[in-house]
Subunit: 260 residues, 2 copies
DNA sequence: CGCACAATTGAAGCAGCTCAAAATAAGTGG
DNA sequence: CCACTTATTTTGAGCTGCTTCAATTGTGCG
């Protein structure tokens, strides 16, 4: 993906051309990544932000014995290590799911941007808050939904998020994610994910072939997962709509360092 | 709890006396609540924030058939509906667990405060980000830990959070929460929570009587839950330490309204 | 073609659930 | 302060959704 397209996605969708150009200029370089590597590791104190241009990543945490929980999927347009911009330290890791590339934006440059362009600060704030809302729904999914409901729900969420950044083709979307990784996201085993996907196929709700998901029956899938998209704040997250947040974060004056 | 104590807790622990007084003055009134009522409902567009002074509440979401997932516990010092200050709308509900009371702070007053006192803006921002980090650990708990591990982990977290606001007595803390509510937090059934608590008791890790938890074996409990407290950012969350965040949110100029 | 990884299927086990009842605690009105 | 009511905790027994273990089939790629 060319750098000129950096700001066509996600939370930057509703910025002005000037603001988008400022973000493009802020990217000091592009870094490509392969599948299954860590973009950011647990405990890191990054000094830059990574804006995903292409490819998919995920936020995750590990237990000592290797169990892994995926906390969110990171798609083009997402700044995958934005929490560390505010908190200074990563309390989780960011792993890639496919190959792709990211734009590197130094924290200090982003800081300046937020001071010059309040709407950019607003975009970052909004991203943090919508991520938190998505995490809340993720908790409900893990804690109180059956495997079948969970899977249906996640597929709905993925379609909607991908559609917001123009990465769907009608009812289809690419899901270049192994069933083992879906399992890590859903809190299930890979074997069971396989069986559930089979059920969803046999129910006629979806079709799966070659890493592409086709949603055949939107109402059915939405119903199966009891999916309501309000938590994604679609009216604001989408590039089709302008922001209406009343309140947003802005950076403080420089100089205070995070962590001893 | 008298209003003079409002700011002794939680994210306000490290503000200056002047800033604390400003928050005290911002509370237009105190409202008391009983157990098991909604402080804020799903879909609300609150115009004020509710700072818990005493008692316990929780954030939760319901499924249509009544299944409930508790997303976080809200303790004295927490502003339970802070996300709505930024996003305008509640994507979840806040229910009380005990009786208690809250200080009501109108959004517009809080907005002014954040503009006058950047450190207050920083405190709010920090609260949002630590809540998000806590949610990440909550997801791991729900998705990848066994019932025994989950319960041990949650008890560790609760002790630490309560201790940060001075609500522990040594290794003891009051947990005025029914097992059914613990179950909603842990993604389990009440019956199973009961059995797990029995196991924790019989392992000698905790003692339970009359709504009071005593942690007999900190190492054992920490180990059982594989608990590492870094996600709570204890160095900053505690009133014992001053903030070091580099970047914080501040409000934008007034006038832009949230939601159509 | 053949290697490595992913998807699929089967069979058996178990963690946690459901249903049901008893014991204990907590209110509550007299 | 007691008797009565109601909620909560506790325990048992059986069940099931998901897991574990293991083997087979399919698939992308050098």
């Amino acid at each position: 993906m060319p750098i000129s397209l950096i700001c066509h996605f996600g939370q930057f969708g509703w910025l002005s051309p000037e603001e988008k150009q400022a973000i493009r200029d802020a990217a000091t370089r592009i870094r490509s990544f392969g599948p299954d590597e860590d973009l950011v590791s647990l405990g890191d104190h990054p000094t830059d932000c990574k804006l995903i241009l292409s490819g998919y990543a995920c936020a995750y945490k590990l237990l000592f014995d290797g169990r892994r929980q995926i906390l969110s999927f990171q798609i083009p347009g997402d700044i995958c290590d934005l929490p560390a911009f505010f908190l200074g330290r990563m309390d989780h890791a960011i792993g890639t799911l496919t190959s792709g590339n990211v734009a590197i934006i130094p924290h200090e440059v982003l800081l300046d941007l937020t001071q010059i362009y309040p709407r950019i600060a607003r975009a970052l704030s909004h991203s943090i808050l919508v991520d938190a809302a998505t995490a809340r729904e993720w908790m409900v999914r893990l804690g109180r939904r059956t495997a079948y409901e969970r899977t249906a729900h996640l597929l709905c969420e993925l379609w909607l998020r991908l559609d917001a950044v123009g990465l769907t083709q009608g009812d289809n979307f690419k899901l270049p994610v192994t069933q083992a990784r879906l399992a890590d996201a859903l809190g299930l085993t890979p074997v069971h994910v396989n069986r559930i996907l089979k059920q969803l196929r046999e129910s006629g709700l979806i079709t799966l072939h070659g890493g592409t998901v086709k949603i055949n029956d939107w109402d059915g899938l939405r119903n199966a997962g009891e999916f309501t998209p309000d938590y994604l704040y679609p009216g604001q997250n989408s590039r089709l709509q302008r922001p209406r947040s009343r309140v947003v974060p802005q950076p403080e004056p420089r100089g205070v360092r995070q962590e001893a």
